[in-house]
Symmetry: C2
Subunit: 187 residues, 2 copies
DNA sequence: ATTCGAATTGACTAATCAGTCGGTAAAGCT
DNA sequence: AGCTTTACCGACTGATTAGTCAATTCGAAT
């Protein structure tokens, strides 16, 4: 009898990615997870609580992944390169989490909570952006525009890589991709 | 009297943006539109057909908007500038359509259809991108990456403008925003 | 061994949903 | 005018849903 709670979360993630939140009944999650519906509602008071838990958990490990090895780097560009590689590598190796995150971000029914917390995903990047602007390395534009554009560009590159995962090992390719990301930012 | 169909579509768009597809019952759409449920299902065989109709309609007017005045421009950069301004102006003046489009694109339950058609949204841009690559004006990278990144960057900028609509009239600001978009692409 | 809370079960329910159907009113056509 | 098609209505249905609950098992501490 291993952790049923964890089993529920993993199954829910998979099914949410396949069917979406609303099109995935709790009964289906329970069945697929090999658990009674009562067990599901024992661990999560409501379906929404299950979804939110999944989101917060995903966000946590994403932030951990993005931050890796960044502080050790010297130049600002190197730091951005590190974050960039962290981001694309994470997406490739956790496709379900990545899809779930996108799906959650664009779903309207939790939008208020999300849009506030959503920015925190790029808190690391935000700090780097500010640092770069203060040192006149990056474009002198409103920080909000900088953040949204950086996020959008990164999402676009990530989307492409998700459908061409083999490219992740092509050093020349990934460096080209990074140069797009960098060119958006640099002044 | 012929407007009931249109009334249903408009009401559905509004409610879908507010609640999401699945969280918006057909009964709610009918009620809000001042129409019987039978009427709704007379015009649209299923709920999914209603959603798809809304998507196709939205796509159509978006494409029209993006293409405006593009051919008249002389240089490639001017053409991109025109598309860029068309895109952000459309988003600002049709926020519900814009939200609906994003929501639809990221929802998994119609994903296969969407991901194929989704690219068509940027068919205009695709042609321009190819032209730019052939003339060594743009980055020499896989066209797919170019498309996804351009779309991502544009989406990011659009997202920012949606929350700061007043900036659309700031000529200096929008030109800065365009320079980010252009820097992603240019070689 | 006994106790007690937490974990687990699955039949159950009240609510809600997409879609139907039989019928009425209005347009369109000849 | 008559005749046909299309638009419209709203009560109804069968299926499905999130969430409940009384009963049972598990696990660990006393």
């Amino acid at each position: 009898m291993k952790d049923k709670r964890q089993q529920i979360l993993e199954t829910a993630l998979k099914l949410f990615v396949e069917n979406g939140f609303h099109a995935t009944p709790t009964s289906m999650i329970a069945k697929e997870a090999g658990v009674a519906t009562g067990t599901l509602f024992h661990h999560f008071k409501t379906k929404e609580e299950l979804i939110n838990t999944l989101y917060l958990e995903t966000k946590e490990i994403l932030i951990q992944a993005l931050t890796k090895q960044v502080n050790e780097q010297d130049t600002l560009k190197s730091k951005f390169r590190q974050v960039f590689y962290n981001a694309i590598n994470w997406a490739i190796s956790h496709p379900d989490h990545q899809f779930f995150y996108s799906q959650y971000s664009y779903s309207p029914f939790i939008s208020t909570l999300t849009r506030e917390l959503g920015l925190q995903r790029f808190h690391v990047i935000q700090e780097l952006l500010k640092e770069g602007q203060e040192n006149d390395i990056l474009k002198a534009i409103p920080i909000g525009l900088m953040i949204d554009t950086a996020q959008g560009t990164l999402d676009g590159i990530t989307n492409y890589l998700m459908e061409h995962p083999e490219k992740i090992d092509d050093r020349e390719f990934t460096e080209q991709a990074f140069s797009m990301f960098w060119d958006v930012l640099k002044g």
